[in-house]
Structure formats: C-alpha cells, structure tokens
Symmetry: D2
Subunit: 347 residues, 4 copies
C-alpha cells in the first residue's frame, strides 16, 4: 500500500523546515511536495543543507497530496487552503486563520476581513489534549499558536477542576525563532543577544486564542486574562508562568499536602497523554528542545495564596510543527506518537 502523500506550503520559514525535518523521518507518510515562492526551482538541500537527504525541488505550486500543511502567513493562508479543502485535501493550517471562532476577531486582532467565515465553525482548534475527538474527524485543523499551546496546557487542569479565580496572569517567555525568518531589526543577533524585553503590551494576537479556550473550560465564569510575552536570547524554547488565586477550600490540606493534591489534579487530567509530562520541579525549556513534549509544573505559594504553574515547550515543536504532526497523525488514524518519540536534544 502506498503511503499517504503530504505536502508543505511555504517550506522556507522556520515552521516549514521543522515540518520537513519531522516528516522526512515519519514512517507512515511521505513528504512529496514542498512550495516556496522566493526559492522555487531550487532543491530543498541547496537552500537548507541539513535537509539534503530530502530529494525534493521547491515548487511554486503544491503537487498532488492527501494532506497539506500550510505555513503561510495569516490572511494569505486561508486563501491558499480553501481551494485545497474543496478538492478533498485535508489541511493542517499552521497560521492563525482558522483558530478563532468569531470572524469579527480577525478584524479586531489581525486587521483583515476573513475570506471564509463559514469555515470557522467547522475548523477544529488543534490541541489534541482538549479536542482529540473533533480533530480525528476534521478536514481542517487550525494548529494553535505557540503561546496558547504552552499557556492553555498550563491552565486547563486548574480551570477545568474549578479551583482558581478567573483573574489570571500569564507571563510568557519565548525564543527568537517564534518571530520567524523574515528580516526585522528586532530579530538581529546584536539587538536580541544579551537582552530581554516584554512586548505587545497593548495586546498580543495570541490572547484571543487563549481566552477562547480557557473561557470554554470555565463553567459560568468569564476569565480576565493578562498576557505579557517576552523575547529571550535563545533560538528555541518557550516558558509560561501562570498566576491565579486558588479558591480557598477547593483543595484539601496545607503545605506539602496541598501541593501534592494539586499535582495529583494535574496528573489525573493528563493521565495517558503521551506528550504532557507533569514534572516534579521547575522545568527547563532545554529539556523539551527539538521535541513535542510539554513539561508542566504546578505549585502553590502559601504566602500569597496563588497557584503558580510553570510550563514549557519547544515553540517550533509542540508549539508548531510537532503539534502539527500530532494533529496529522490523529486526522489520518495513525498512532498519535508516530514520528514524534524523539527525546529532546540536551544539552
């Protein structure tokens, strides 16, 4: 039997080449077509020597495939994938174009009128830990943003179990590859190296995703989320620190007992999940580097009454390409961990 044919639209960005890296090692699908405007006509290995083993030419137009990843920028991605959907090609859209349920949000947050608002209801938000069943039946999966993936996985057990107040602070830190491969002053080595900064303090585009998913988990309450992302001088890796007041009496015990009970809530919530590890001490992004794992550490500050959850991922792994492959596996009925079992590269 021939393998499922898979393609990547816009392979030349960091998400595109990470998808290619993972797909060329995947035993159940075959990467058969990659596109890219500026580099069209060149061999993939000419542009990216580390991918020389993949014998493909970068094309201007996607070839025949059964499933396509779109790594196009937002607004352009929707235009690219809508006709493919019409041809029966399954889509994992790495852009934001199908993540939000409300078309108006695209005007507000992305400043464009969505070209296919009718598809928003049909698209599935691709966090398998929350929406595995819908993903399995979907033709169009919106792969989540890196910040939402990291933050939602940190908060979901606490929100779903009703133990925290709805006033939540998310302080997130990201490596620079999250800013992509385009030329910006703020991505130059000499500007970023030896520097930390907060950004998008007037509202980051990943906030509505986070609100949408967290609100769905809160019963009755509307969460008030303060989200501040930071840029860190490293290439890959993302860490979120989430803060919320623990509702007194919801978890029995004090001190170590309370912390252990809290951790048990997290362990129960993620029982059986292959890519979420509830860890026993504050996690390091480097322990997830290059992998599809998310490490989550919940704890409690008895002085302030706050739940603190630290979570981390590789922003290009579970935060993008890795989760994209995970979604693909689910959509194709392949065992979910196929091609994704590699441990992180450490150090």
């Amino acid at each position: 039997m021939s393998k499922t044919r898979v393609g990547i639209i816009n392979v030349t960005g960091y998400v595109g080449i990470e998808l290619a890296r993972l797909l060329c090692q995947h035993p159940e699908v075959e990467l058969t077509s990659v596109t890219g405007r500026s580099a069209a006509g060149q061999k993939l290995g000419q542009v990216f020597p580390h991918l020389s083993n993949i014998d493909l030419t970068i094309e201007a137009k996607l070839g025949d495939v059964d499933l396509a990843f779109s790594a196009m920028p937002h607004e352009e991605s929707a235009k690219e994938v809508i006709p493919l959907l019409g041809c029966g090609i399954k889509i994992v859209d790495m852009s934001a174009d199908f993540r939000l349920k409300s078309a108006a949000d695209y005007q507000t947050w992305y400043n464009f009128a969505h070209s296919a608002p009718q598809l928003l209801a049909q698209a599935v938000y691709g966090i398998p830990e929350l929406h595995r069943k819908e993903i399995a039946e979907a033709n169009l999966v919106a792969n989540p943003g890196c910040y939402p993936t990291c933050s939602i996985l940190a908060l979901a057990p606490a929100v779903a179990s009703g133990i925290i107040e709805p006033d939540i602070v998310i302080d997130a830190k990201s490596g620079v590859s999250g800013a992509g491969r385009s030329l910006k002053l703020g991505s130059l080595f000499s500007e970023v190296d030896e520097d930390v900064t907060a950004y998008s303090l007037d509202g980051h585009r990943h906030l509505p995703e986070i609100v949408q998913e967290i609100a769905a988990l809160f019963s009755g309450n509307t969460p008030r989320i303060t989200f501040v992302p930071h840029l860190i001088p490293m290439t890959r890796g993302m860490l979120s620190a989430c803060y919320a007041t623990l509702i007194p009496g919801k978890i029995a015990g004090t001190g170590k007992n309370l912390k252990e009970a809290l951790k048990q809530i997290y362990r129960d919530y993620y029982a059986g999940e292959p890519f979420v590890r509830v860890v026993d001490s504050a996690p390091h992004t480097k322990h997830t580097q290059g992998s599809n794992f998310c490490h989550v550490y919940p704890t409690y500050d008895p002085r302030s009454g706050k739940l603190i959850v630290i979570s981390c991922i590789d922003n290009l792994g579970k935060g993008a390409a890795g989760q994209g492959i995970q979604n693909m596996n689910i959509m194709l009925g392949i065992p979910e961990t196929t091609g994704l079992r590699s441990p992180a590269m450490f150090p």
Copy 2:
C-alpha cells in the same frame, strides 16, 4: 587634599570586579586596597587582565581605608565588617547581612543567627530613591539585592500613590552573573545556554526585602506579593514584570488618557532622579548594560484592569556595584552621579 581611600573586601567575584572597574575611573576616591582569599598575593591584573591598569596586589587583609565595600557572602560579611565599623570605617555591605530589619528573618530565610542584631536598626537600606537622607548620614549601608532594586523601583510610585490593590505578582528575569562566580552545575554554559527556567518557587531570599520596602510604602495595607525569578541565557541584565489590579477611580480617564496619567505619576515620583528613567515603550535590559540606570515603563491593560510595570537594570550595575558607588557618593558627600554617568554599552 588627598582623595578618600576606598577598599573592596573579596574583589574576586563578579560584584567585586565590577566595583573595581567603576572605582578605578572614579575621580573623587582612590581604590587603595582589595582583598581575596584564594588569589591573595597576585596582582589584580594577573587574575583579571581587563583590570591591568589598577596597580594593586590582592591582599589577605584589608589595608587602611576610609570606606570599604564588602562583597563577601552573607553571614561572613557581617563578621568581616563589624570590626571595621568599630574603627570608624564607613561600610557599604553588598551582602544581605544588614538589609532586613528583623533578626528573625535571617534565621527564617538565610538559616543563620545574626551576629549583630543590634546593628540592623542602624543600617540603612541603600536605595537612594527611597532613603537618600538616611544614607547621607549612615556609616553602614546595606546595598539592596538586584531583584529588590528592580522590583521596588517598578512598584514604588504605584504603591505610594495608593492606586493599586495589595495583591502583587512580580515575575522577574535575571542574567546568569547574578548567580555569582562560584562553581555550580546550574551555572555551566551548556546547561544555561538556550534555556529558561523559573527557580526558588518555594520562596527566594530576596522576597523579604521586597516585602519590607513595599509594605512601608503601603498605608494601612499589608501587601501580598508573589515573586518568581527566572534565569535567562545572558550574562548581565534583569527585567521585572509587575502586575497588580488598579483600584477603579483612582486615576481619571480611560484608554490613552489613563495610561498617560499613570505615566505622569511615575514621572512625578522620579522627577530629578538621575538614574531612573520613565520610558515611553517597553524597555530592553541591553539599554542599561554596564550602567547604573533603571528604565521603568508603567502601563495598563484595560481588558483585565491590571497595572503592568516593566522595569530593567544591569544586575551588576544598579543591581549591585553601580548602586554601591551611588551610595558611597551620598555617604561621602560627593555629587551623586560622580563616576556613574557612562551610558549603557549597546549593542
């Protein structure tokens, strides 16, 4: 007239050599003695080639000086400086040994019984922006920790003006030099590089300093402070993100007007301060690298009702040696900015 003679106890750590770097350029004092146990007997320039211009031998015992900086570890520092105080030598203690007013806190947070609790009341906590007058009259100044300096300067105007609730989250990020020059697995390049982690989640030793100073600024209220430090893959630099709920009605206006009014509160509070800059956009640690400046950016999130203040310093500058020199200048009646006017090194 001969210059004031200044010494550094334990010059061989990062704080010690940063003090030496600044003092050798200071026009009003003369660095005349430096000590260090392991390197005693060697020329300073042999151990630290960048300091070859300073013609001093590292000694086992401090020579005759008028003022001494102690860069000893906590517990040892107090023992070292107490006899010097008795000889009439002014002291800037870079360790934690005289920062806390309550002797019991040393048992709780540092696990030792303080050897001179009677001096705690007399010692002045050396943030000039809060305690300039007391510093001018002090013989013993406790130079603040880097996290407290960065966080207190971020919060003081908001707390003093009564505009925020007392439930405060401080999410801080520090370069690795803050961990000092001693050999620890967690300070190795290959462990820290390309990594971010939160640490001391059960309580960092800088928390009681922050609480002590912030509580003094709150009228009537006891603040509940959640403080989580992070380690960032860079040598120098510290950035704090502070979150608190703005009490409705305390600041007039909405949207941009409210943000501008908020900024004005900060500008007024720091009017005339030579080393605190209230900036117009989210600050970068690199814009303070090697300098004694603190950049503070207050803003407001209308979605969540939160005040957000981002502040940054060089942890070895305003967070340690720079502020030490600033304190020395005040103690000696020298113009406060002497020897500290250098802009940051960027990039």
Copy 3:
C-alpha cells in the same frame, strides 16, 4: 529474536546522555543498563527529565550487556573496560585510552602509564571512513576525539591524493559541551558567553591522534601539524579550518577549474559515504547540530597558493556519540546508518 543488549558506562556526562538519546530511538538494539557513580539509584528521567521515556535506573555496576560504551574519563576508562573485554563484551571506548598506538604517548600527553599497552595494537581507531573493515572485525573500538574527527575528515582526501605539502595548520573552533559537564571556572556561562579564546597553545591532547592518522595517509612524508583549538560561546558544534600549500602542478587547471577539480577529489574520496557531505559553500556548524553528519568544503586561495578546507560536525554527534553508534552498527553488522538518519536540528 531478542535485540542486542547495550549499556553505557557513566551515562551522566554529555556524551553519556547523547548516547542514551540516540540509543533509545535505535530500532535494532536495546539500551538495558546505564551506570553513573554520583547518581546511582536514581531513575534516568529524574536526573535528566528529557530522557523520562527511558525506563532505567542508574546503576553503580553495569548489568549484562552484549556491547558497552564507556564514557568514563581517560585512565579510568581502560580499567573499566579491560575486564569486560575479557568477558566477551564488545567495547566502544569514548575516552582516549585506546586511540594512540604508542603506549609512550600516554605518558607524554596524558601523564599516566597505560594499564594495558598490549591492547593498543588490537584496538581500532574508529573513524569508519578510514577504517571500516577493521571496525567490523573489532571487539574494541577507540572512538576518536571530536577535533581529530573533524580535522582528519577535512584533510584525508588531500593528504591521500598527495596534493599538499606536509606543513599543515589546523585552526579549530568548538562549542563548550566539548569541555564536559564537570565544574570548571572556564565553563561557567558568564565566563564563556560573549567570549572567544584559543587554548592549549602548548599542545592539545588531540594532536597526537591527528598526527597518527594523517601521517599514515602521507606516503613518505612526515607531516608537521600546527593545531590550535578555540572555545566558542555555543553549546554544540565544531568547525575546523585547515591550511596547507597545494603542490603546484598536482591539480590541473586554474581558478574555478582548479577549485572544481579539487572538489571532485573530495567527492570521489567520500563517494558512498553516508555521513560526509562535500558541500558547495562554506558550511555552518548549525547545519549539523544534533546529527551524525560532517560537512566538508575544500577550496583554494590563488593569491597564497593555499588549500583551505573547512569542515564541521556536532562535537557530541559525529564528534562523539553519533560516531560511537556508527561504530557499534558496523561492529554488530547492522546497516551503518541505523538510528542515525535524523537531519540536523535547524535553527
């Protein structure tokens, strides 16, 4: 049929955990035992969370295995593996203990008397590109140093084809993980970050390996090799620049023709080699990060008459653990690329 059982002696250093990372994904062998003194008794995943998928406890003594990797320090490694060899266990020794053919060299370069000089003749120097046949028949393979691997692969085609004078300069640059996981001032983040330095200018221990292998390829001539290593602020990666005078008339053509003919010599030499890529422009270490590939770029400077060869590897990949697995595959008769086909992680 049960899989070949493999063990790692001293899993807790960077080479040890890289071996574990690669072996746990290897389809033809099973990692069944790992040892480590300080961490004995702990689960591998407790000490190294990224290896949580490997369900092994770190032991004090190696269990029953068919082949063992020794990642012990030199001098200790020989003592550890000699009894295992006697039990019929195949050995890939990651240390220097069996790399040199002359026992006297151990006294000169490593300052110890070799405990089993009779094994030196029997041990095979494990660069498959030079010694594949002997490796296939060996019970004891000495895995080469990282600098020798990178430099020998750069020079072998030029030396073997007789086109260069025997006066060779090798200027090599290494990431910090090559210094290992032990606590040294020179490995601290704040010392290494934003710094480059040359070291071991009085003679690096990898020099005799390089000389031994290059001398064997020179017919008649004794090479004079100047080798200067540098430390670079990055975790992984190694790049060698090799310089030698091209003997006039040995390669026909001038300008581009000569460069092309030179490149053809390299392509012919490495034809069929799965892990050496002769590339078309100056290579980047990052294009080999985490992989077992070596990228080699030979060129010619017509102004000075010099052959210049730039080569790069991941010092923990082809420079250590990757090549170790490659040697194991050959020793066990498994297809050589098994478990090693992953492309580099970029960016």
Copy 4:
C-alpha cells in the same frame, strides 16, 4: 575656552552609536551634531534610549563642527567627506574609502571607481602604533578595518623584526556586530546563534589593507597572506590567530627561553603603547569588551616551527570607534588616552 566641536555622520549604525557613547564622556571635545537619514528629526534618545543623556536631535545635514567622523558606508562616505575637507574640517573616516593607497584596488575589491583618487596619498592609515606622527599632522585619517587592526597589531613586531617567513595564515573570528545594523538573513539571531561559519573564502575586502600594511613592514619580501574570517555567536569581540614559520636562528634559545625572547620582541615593540598589552597567556575577547585595548599573545610551537600570535580587540572599540577617538585625540593634540581609559566590561 570653548571645546572642540565634533560631529558624527550617520550615527544610527553600531559604529555611530559607539562613537556617540564614547564622545559624550570625553572631557575635551563636545559632540554637537549627529546625522542620520531615516531617523532625522528624532531625538537621539528616542531612537537609542541608552543615549538619552545626549541632548541632540538627529539631523539630515551636519552642523558646524571642527572635526567629523563619517560612519557612512563605503563609496558614499568619500562623497560626504570631500566637501567637508574643503571647508577645513578634519575628518576621521570610519569607512574603507581612504584606507587603500591604490585607486585601482577600489575597483577590484569594492567594485566602484574612487571619486577622489588624489586624496589617497594624503590620507593617513590610522593605526597610531604604526603611523602616529603622520596622524598628528593629518586632516584626513582613514580609520582601519577591524580585522586589519587586530591582525596587523598581532603581526607587526614579528614582521618588523624579520623573524618570520613571508607565508602567513590569519584565521580571524568576529562577533556579529561587525556585520552592521542592516537587515540581512545572515545576521538574524536564529541563524547566527549556536553557529560558527567561515566566510568570504574567495577574498575578504579587509585583505588588501592587511597586505598593504604588512608589506610595508617586510623589508624586501612580498608577504603571501591567507586570510579567513569567521562569524561567532557573540555581539562584540574579535580574535585573530596568526601563523607563520619562524626563520631558524633569528631568535636565540629553545623552549621557554625562545618563547620568552619572542615575547620580549613584542614587549619592546609596544613599549609605551597605552592600548596594546602583551599578555602572558592566551587572551579572551571578553577582557577587551567595550574598551580600546588590544591584547596580544605571541608564542611558538616547537613541533612545527611555527610562530603563533593570538590577538584580540573589541571590534567596535579598538576595531572601530575607540581607535577613531584615539586618532581624533592625536589629530587635535589632546593626550592620546583621553576618554579611552575605561577598562573592559567583564563579565
């Protein structure tokens, strides 16, 4: 008496802002005008918050000054400074436009026809250690490239004393700030971080400068120089390793004696030089960070008969802005070290 007025043409690049940083602390001159095309009309402190202490607006056209630094790109710089020279303004040109004595070299290496070839003879190549007297009398000083500064200072004593063969290899390593502040894929953080590469293997533009100055020091011989630059993942810093065969018999002694005699040649050559330190062990770029110092370490490899010289500078300090200020001081008759005595920032 009013201070000498100094201006910076094109302040917005890394060399421009480093000049501004140094000039604002210089006690004998006053920075009175800065220009920059894209940022014209903005306050310097708006664009570069670390320079907020400098109360200047970036102008489109240079104001009245006595001396100007041009930090324009090559080809444009000559056009900018020629009219200023005509007005009697002294010029320190940071570009390459007046470094080479042969107008034809501009066609060959920079691909443009020089607009004022008659000025090439009159311009002085601004390495004070070689051309101090001419600089003192010059109106136009061509500030050397960073690689030439670092390499020439490493080689000059050996060449001038006639102890080496004329076949020289220079393997140089530079931080990324040397590539400037313009937007290039190769300067992005995610591309450069954790990477080393060699570049310009077909000939770097700094080679003719090096050849010009080294040839002038060789009596009778024409040097054959192989120069290979590398890009290192750090912002500032440059290190050159220079290799040449020591002519037998030129230095008496063997082993340590020979090395000591060699070092003495270097010490004698640089006796009295305020910014060149002949150091006793392999230097670290970080020991020159932010300063105008050059550290030089000459040694000898008895196995290969090679002289090895390691030198390092801050590419923006002695490699650009620092040396520019040093040249200015000499041109204006100000003590040469004025404004340049700051030790390096370490760590």
